[in-house]
């Protein structure tokens, strides 16, 4: 019981916040975020003690399998679903402490783009009204100013306002719909855009266009992105930092280069191994995860990945691992037996 006894404070397991940076240097700070859904089958802890931060101009990628809680975490940050616990620091205030009216105003700085752009657009409205929706909600400027702002945003995302302004979502392709969604977020002059699997529903040929567009917009408007995806290749191309989630918890977080080149957590290795290699000469690496994802209603004790982990031992069932620095600089993993850690740090204390 050495070292990791800090993992247990009171009755609650703590995944650790050592990876968080100085509060003054970050734009968004999320600490101990919890989100529990109550279903007929029992309480599902979709997000369990998740902490991360986002610096200005940074892109944080969040990856994980379907159902690992990454979308729930993103929505909880905006309080689109109400988190059960945790703090969300933005602009010197805790978003969770705000009243509904204050939240409505504060939230306009943080916009969200969804996976299914068709579902994210009201089918009965025209594109120009969809893009200008935020402006008309807040009645900012005159009607002419709003229209001008809409035109600018549409041009910024590569949609000709004269061609597309009067169309309805049904008359657009998936990629065009996603552009409308991006324009709708941009008119609010946001500082952060949460991208909830923004390309997963699009054709492969369109995915790169939208990813590039998001990068361009990020540069042009100085945005920070919270980029959620299950596709590691997409995340790699766009992210400065990457967080890997498994069953509601962050298991590894660090600079994209570190996470991809030398993953410390066995789950990250498994995920990376699942990315198809374009070169047929490269042998398929074999680090299989055993079995299926356990039910989030009754997650395994200790490390949640242990039931599928090739390296699991008794300790993993007894104690929850805390996020600690492993591998390259700035990389953190929640694992008792991380790869390379044995060599690099000489094992757990």
């Amino acid at each position: 019981m050495t070292g990791t006894s800090a993992a247990v404070t009171g009755a609650r397991l703590v995944t650790g916040i050592e990876h968080l940076r100085e509060a003054s240097t970050v734009l968004l700070g999320v600490e101990h975020l919890e989100l529990t859904y109550h279903t007929d089958g029992g309480a599902v802890q979709a997000v369990s003690d998740v902490s991360f931060d986002l610096a200005p101009g940074e892109t944080l990628g969040i990856v994980g399998e379907s159902g690992c809680g990454k979308s729930s975490a993103a929505r909880a940050v905006l309080r689109l679903v109400e988190p059960t616990a945790g703090t969300i620091r933005y602009g010197g205030q805790d978003l969770r402490a705000l009243s509904v009216a204050e939240l409505r105003r504060a939230r306009t700085d943080i916009q969200i783009i969804f996976q299914d752009p068709v579902s994210a657009l009201n089918p009965r409205r025209k594109v120009k009204h969809l893009v200008g929706e935020g402006l008309s909600i807040w009645r900012s400027g005159t009607r002419a100013q709003r229209l001008e702002r809409v035109r600018e945003a549409m041009e910024a995302v590569g949609l000709d306002p004269d061609t597309f302004g009067d169309r309805r979502p049904r008359e657009l392709s998936g990629g065009q719909c996603q552009r409308v969604c991006i324009a709708r977020a941009l008119v609010m002059n946001p500082r952060i855009i949460v991208c909830d699997e923004p390309v997963a529903a699009l054709d492969v040929s369109i995915q790169a266009q939208i990813t590039n567009l998001l990068e361009d917009m990020k540069e042009k408007f100085g945005l920070s992105l919270l980029f959620i995806a299950h596709d590691l290749a997409v995340v790699r191309s766009i992210s400065d930092r990457v967080a890997v989630m498994y069953l509601g918890k962050i298991v590894e977080i660090g600079p994209a280069s570190a996470v991809y080149s030398s993953p410390a957590h066995p789950y990250t290795s498994v995920l990376l191994a699942a990315v198809p290699e374009p070169d047929p000469g490269v042998p398929i690496p074999h680090t299989p995860a055993i079995g299926d994802v356990p039910s989030p209603i009754d997650p395994p004790s200790g490390c949640r990945f242990r039931t599928r982990c090739p390296r699991a031992e008794q300790l993993c069932a007894d104690e929850e691992p805390v996020l600690r620095p492993y591998g390259q600089k700035g990389n953190f993993a929640a694992c008792h037996f991380p790869s390379e850690a044995v060599a690099a740090i000489g094992g757990r204390a």
């Binding site: 689109l80 009201n122 009965r124 049904r170």
Partner: protein, 310 residues
Amino acid sequence: MTGNQLQDPPLAAGIEAAAVPDPVARADGRRPSLWRRLRRARVLYWAAVAWLSVLAAVALFANLLPIADPAEFVGRPFTPPDWSFPEPLGTDNSGRSQLSRLIFGARQSLAVGLLSVLLAMAVGTAIGMAAGFWRGKVDRVLSLLIDSMLAFPPLVLLLALAAALQPTISTIVVALAVLLTPTFARLTRGSTLAYRSREFILAARALGAGTPRLLGRELLPNVLLTVSSYFFVVVATAIVAEGSLSFLGLGIPPPAPSWGGMISDARSSLSLHPEQVAIPATVFVLTVMALNVVGEHVRRRIEGSGPAAG
């Protein structure tokens, strides 16, 4: 040569036509069968539209038409139809003009049908949207209310209401609206639930939209479209219900003409003067059928193009 083309075996033509979705421009230049052409031209639909338009027009301008007062005696009772003016449809058992009574009856039937459905739609949509939007306790209470109203036998409800209230045109409208409200409420609730889970609601909230805007600007236009696709079909139901009430003598009180009342009046002399029942019954059936045909068409158009299908 054209003669040859017309003599093609119909079976082969049928198979061809079935395989080719748009037989107008068939590659072999053969003309599609008469039935197919009629169906494509939607003769039934346009006939229904025409019938309803004429009916609505004469009902609306009944006062201006050169017809007798529906309460006035214009001839001997039971004058058979002579298909010529001034009384082409003859007279009823009191010697009043059948044509005039049909037209003024149309006014009552259509007014009652439209008004009761509009009222039911307004109330039902509000209830259904509230249940679907807030869910939880609100939904449980409202759904219980809807279900218990739907479980009540409609005719018994109508009879009870007719007994409790003075039968006037407005009480009948209200009674029918009460009867139809749960249908709309349930329809709206389902539609609201479906749209509520769509991400444009979350997107609007992220942009700062409050509850009134979510309900009024985001949900209502979508929900209303789905609900209004049932409008004509439900109007037909309402007209049938009003006819039944009038037939039972609990509808629009005499001497005001109504279709159900006309059928009811003529019932006793059915064996001697079957046309007394046949004429209003035919108009009634045609109208209900036309409403159903148009309603079905509208519903398919909306659902085909609509958001519900994706």
